[in-house]
Amino acid sequence: MSNVNAVTFTIVVVLFLVVTLTGFAAARWRRAEDMLHLNEWGLGGRGFGTFVAWFLLGGDLYTAYTFIAVPAAMFGAGAVTGYFAVAYTIIVFPIALIFLPRLWSVARVHHYVTPADFIRGRYGSRGLALAIAFTGILALMPYIALQLVGIQAVLTVMGVGSTSGNAFIKDLPLFIAFGVLAIFTYVSGLRAPALIAFIKDTLVYVMIIVAVLYLPAKVGGWGHIFSTAETHMKTISPVTHKPTGVFIPTTGNSQLAFSTLALGSALALMVYPHAVTGVLSTKRRDIIKRNMALLPIYSIMLGFIALLGYVALADKVTAANVKKAGNAQLAVPYLFQHLFPSWFTGIAFSAIVIGALVPAAIMAIAAANLFTRNIFKEFFKSDASPRLQTRVSQWVSLIVKVGALLFAVSLPKTFSINLQLLGGIWILQTFPSIVSGLFTHWFHRYALLAGWLTGMLYGTIAAYNVSTPTTSHWAGSVDTVFGHTVYIGLTAIILNLAVSVILTLVLRAARVPAGTDETLPQQYSADPVETPAPAPAAAVLGSEVRGGGGGDLPRAARQLAAVRGGELTPRRPTWTRPGRTAGWPGCRPAPGA
């Protein structure tokens, strides 16, 4: 620890302590009567407004790994593997605006906590719900581990721990950071990352604005930065005998790779369980919609973060340091360390470290909720009380974090990165079930399960087979299909959909019973504006409505149930008939059953 800069180190430690205190204080923020309920611990009471949700979702979706990996990809290979992320964060919002409000509404009416809860309710299929939950946990684990890789990159450049030969001492700072994270998540649940997100996002904004205004001039201006990058990307690599990277995708295949990567990643992002957790924690349907218009502000920032990879290329000292370390992930930390005064380096490094803690906490909570609701409660203890469910989730969140820590420390870094790449492909395979389910009940549960399996298998095998002259397997996330370079996830989801459609036709023709659908068409657009977050004890919808509607039950129930002109309810004419007792979330006989 000889070359640690005292100023930088002190600032990082102080800001980390501030965040730790905030994390514990969050338990008292918007405190509910009974914190031992999954709606409270796992979803922050479902009461966040536009402002909090903006910080929470921003903190959730733009992770520390993004700040490290996107510029690293730009540094290493240019536009197709790096700058596609900017196009991807554009596409994600219009697409999300189509389906997220519907997911929010149906989840609020039925008190769903996870995306797999919705699948269980919509298709009446434990198997399909298990597949969705399993995929979610599988995809989240390496994602959490990668947040640690982000912290490690900063710690390495700071010179903390990395020089020691002892494996335990070497990773001690990481253990401390994650231990603290694990404890405050256990205590405060989703409230902790929501409150810390304010600090994180403020620091990140300061870091980016200063970096964009200050750094380019230091290395010769944007004109010089872009021409250096262009020259670098066109240089023929001695190993592969191909250009190092792509500066502007002008060939058909590089354009196709760029747009399929962007489209596939955009489809995947909002079905990640941690994104769903953030969405379901909001108070009203409108808040989701408004945030789809407000979150692009974050993406502007991402665009500039990506370009920092080119700035690092243009700075000779940084480029040399990265080359010496042999790890492109260090590009941004080295750039900051070289060009910023040490106090500001401290602030920037804190932004990245704290930026890792927020999403890691939300991901651990999302994974824990999936386990509790869709594995523990579903298969082991169907009468689990809300209190027990919360306890289980708290413990699982700890286990998930320890697992991710072991993952990050013991396995080679490239392994976590490959798994994360696979995670994106895997989670994309849950998209057809979740999103089609929000609009139609046409697909058959077994067909969706078979489609999911096809996509998972194809995606995994195809990703394994990607090779370059320097790497034999897992070399990237695009492969060649009929002569076109396409994102593997997108090919897999197309196969997935094709299998789902064909098998649905077959199963329907064979009259295989569909599952029982407990949702009603109008519940997908319900907006219980005047209804506060469900009371912890409310297992019954009536009591939830009564709690907020001031006793005006029929009116509030009507709001919840508001039929949209009946256009989506051909099968339930009884719903709109006055005086008739309607089956509220009750079971509708499935067509053909």
Partner: protein, 102 residues
């Protein structure tokens, strides 16, 4: 689960909000599709020229796209809000919301 009895009248008549506001609905659909299309269709913007400041067009285009997208999304959300306030319905909560895309 106990089931609250449904004493509501048929709300909002038989016309769907989409059918009631065909123009607004079409505008929403076009705006959503366009905002995806102009980002996915790379040949539109994959060129170095015209330079915007020191930025090659390819890089500047996507950076400028972001604030424009924010504004377009805001218009879409506002229009969707207008869709669901049908004549005779009081307040935004009186009727279900609607999505154009299904």
């Amino acid at each position: 689960m106990t089931q609250p009895s449904d004493t509501s009248r048929p709300s909002g008549g038989s016309r769907s909000p989409v059918a009631a506001h065909p123009v607004t609905s079409a505008v929403i659909a076009i705006l959503i599709l366009a905002s995806v299309f102009f980002a996915v269709w790379v040949p539109l913007y994959a060129s170095a020229t015209p330079k915007i400041g020191d930025f090659p067009f390819f890089y500047a285009y996507l950076l400028i796209y972001m604030p424009v997208l924010g504004i377009v999304m805001w218009i879409v959300v506002t229009l969707q809000g207008r869709l669901r306030r049908r004549p005779g319905a009081k307040g935004p909560a009186a009727a279900g919301d609607s999505e154009v895309a299904r």
